[in-house]
């Protein structure tokens, strides 16, 4: 862990992610206002009044909605990374360890999927299964499987002929034990880097889908929904647009920088 702080990207990313985590933790215990309580007499009031970040077109507290939106982003990011990584690691492990025909077929499928624009694929899945939080997660998770599968596979290809793996075979370790007890821990930092990048991607895609009205549905707040609602008032209340933008940027950039930093250090090793 300590060695990663020698990377500038990691340090900056770490600060940004920590800040958002702080917001998340606070939001779990305390929100300034109810996120859906409307107050028609205080529509679009500016920041630093009774509401720290002002109110939206229905007089709802923007800070509360933002904090809730950050929760939703973290939840989606976490679920997407969890599903995507489990699937991707399983697929990549078997493909990379056993190689051969199975590997060829799996990699062809993955290449095909990667050639497909991600958000388009997610939109197609949502069109088929309907929208809502769970389907958004499912669609984004499926989209993130290939990157996990690829990084895992290349790690296994590197280690499957390693002396310590041969030694394990001679000691009687079975394939599953070698794959998941011995090889996987050796590629965990690569996987963590990928997870961080995938997290950023999921937050970004969720915002995009919600913005298009295909992700989380109103009145639940999400950073994407806030953005799409705010755009109508861009001239009257510029800060309203900037707030969700800033939150998305900090989250996405933070996780991207952390991922890049880890990759950078891994490669230097």
């Amino acid at each position: 862990m300590k060695k990663y702080f020698s990377s500038m990207s990691f340090c900056v990313g770490f600060v940004l992610v920590s800040f958002m985590l702080f917001v998340l933790v606070v939001s779990l215990f305390w929100l300034p206002y109810d996120t859906t309580a409307m107050d028609m007499s205080h529509k679009l009031s500016g920041p630093f009044g009774g509401h720290l970040l002002g109110t939206d077109q229905f007089g709802r507290d923007i800070l509360s909605r933002l904090m809730k939106g950050v929760q939703v982003s973290f939840l989606i990011g976490l679920l997407v990374v969890a599903f995507g990584s489990i699937m991707g690691i399983l697929i990549g492990s078997f493909a990379g360890y056993f190689g051969g025909k199975v590997d060829e077929v799996i990699m062809k499928l993955i290449d095909t999927q990667m050639a497909f624009p991600g958000v388009l694929l997610a939109m197609m899945l949502i069109a088929v299964f309907g929208n809502g939080l769970f389907n958004t997660v499912l669609a984004l998770a499926i989209m993130s499987v290939p990157r996990f599968a690829r990084i895992t596979r290349s790690g296994y290809m590197k280690y499957r002929e390693a002396d310590f793996v041969k030694a394990e075979r001679i000691r009687g370790a079975g394939s599953l034990r070698i794959m998941f007890v011995h090889i996987l821990p050796n590629i965990k930092s690569e996987i963590v880097a990928t997870a961080s990048l995938a997290f950023a991607g999921a937050v970004m895609s969720e915002a995009g889908l919600s913005y298009l009205g295909m992700g989380v549905q109103p009145p639940d707040p999400s950073l994407g929904i806030m953005l799409s609602e705010a755009q109508d008032y861009i001239l009257r209340a510029g800060w309203y647009v900037l707030i969700p933008c800033a939150a998305i940027t900090i989250l996405v950039m933070g996780f991207n920088l952390v991922g890049d930093g880890i990759q950078e250090i891994n490669e230097r090793r």
Binding site: A162, D163, F164, K166, A167, E168, R169, I170, R171, G172, A173, R177, H182, P185, N186
Partner: protein, 329 residues
């Protein structure tokens, strides 16, 4: 008559796909007796590791039979071979690459017990780990260390402990000291010798270092391009070698004993395109017409002393051969 523990009969291993094939091991036949150390020597790429890997069932032979203690293991599936896994162990050349860097030494040593002795209690396993650490000259404090915190020699001791903790009968040591400092080499070799006596081990000791092999081995087999070219007791091979290749190999290390040095010219031919006839004929100083197209069989010249050469009697010790002179110029 000593008991045969391992027998190889016409064992062949061919690597490669449709286009380029490499005959890494070519109809190799030999025995390893219980309790002995058989040294396997030869230049890089001659097929030593391939032979060792087939004996530990990391590779399957393409043809021929390998028997361990009377049981044929060549055609066994991994499942069938599992019951023999603890009997046949291996020590690798590079102690840096052969230990999982993510696991502590104690964990690594306990794992084979978990695999092979599921009935063992945690305390028994723990006691056994401590015991084996002491046997290889380390102590309990090493349990909580990672491989990266150990020196090469200490790591190799751990590798030896890992091989021995399951009570094997046979251990393949593939260049076990080549990656170590000369000062550490002797310690590891002596440890291996001591353990062989204490646990009645049988070793196949692979090395290209003739000094090390002569020190360790009771008998030596010399390999060239996938073939055994000469095989006999340590004394026969290192002092009275008959095969031109063996003579050349050992003359390089025997300068001080007043023997002339034979320098072979040319490189080892590619094993994907081996020479016709005797595999050594492209570099042999005794090569004649017959050698170009007839491959010599490995024949027993004296009990236990086998040579694959058409002219094993041409040059006896002390006698000067014109061909040798010619090579030296």
């Amino acid at each position: 008559m000593p008991e045969r523990l391992i027998t190889l009969e016409n064992v062949t291993k061919i690597y490669g796909g449709r286009k380029r094939t490499v005959k890494a091991v070519d109809h190799v036949t030999f025995d390893i007796y219980r309790g002995e150390t058989l040294g396997l020597v030869g230049e890089s790429g001659c097929g030593k590791s391939t032979t060792g890997n087939m004996l530990v069932h990391l590779l399957n032979a393409d043809s021929g039979t390998i028997r361990f203690d009377g049981q044929e293991i060549t055609a066994m599936s991994e499942r069938e071979f599992k019951k023999l896994r603890s009997d046949i162990q291996m020590i690798f050349q590079d102690p840096y690459a052969s230990l999982n860097p993510q696991k502590k030494i104690g964990w690594l040593l306990e794992e084979p017990l978990l695999i092979h002795h599921k009935e063992m209690s945690k305390e028994d396993r723990s006691r056994k780990v401590d015991e084996i650490l002491r046997v290889v000259g380390l102590d309990e404090s090493y349990r909580d260390r990672y491989p990266r915190q150990l020196s090469g020699g200490q790591r190799q001791r751990v590798c030896i402990a890992l091989a021995l903790i399951v009570n094997p009968a046979f251990v393949v040591a593939d260049e076990p000291v080549s990656a170590l400092d000369v000062s550490v080499q002797a310690q590891i070799l002596n440890l291996m010798k001591k353990l062989q006596r204490d646990y009645h081990l049988t070793y196949l000791f692979i090395s290209h270092d003739l000094g090390v092999v002569s020190y360790m081995a009771d008998r030596i087999a010399v390999m060239y391009l996938g073939n055994i070219v000469e095989m006999g007791t340590e004394e026969q091979i290192s002092r009275h070698a008959r095969h031109p290749y063996t003579q050349a190999l050992f003359s390089a290390s025997a300068d001080e004993e007043g023997r002339e040095r034979i320098i072979l010219d040319g490189d080892v031919p590619s094993p994907s395109n081996p020479p016709s006839g005797c595999p050594f004929h492209t570099r042999c100083f005794r090569c004649r017409e017959k050698c170009l197209d007839q491959k010599p069989e490995l024949c027993e010249m004296e009990p236990g002393w086998k040579i694959a050469c058409h002219y094993p009697h041409e040059w006896e010790e002390g006698e000067d051969s014109p061909q040798r002179k010619a090579v030296e110029v």
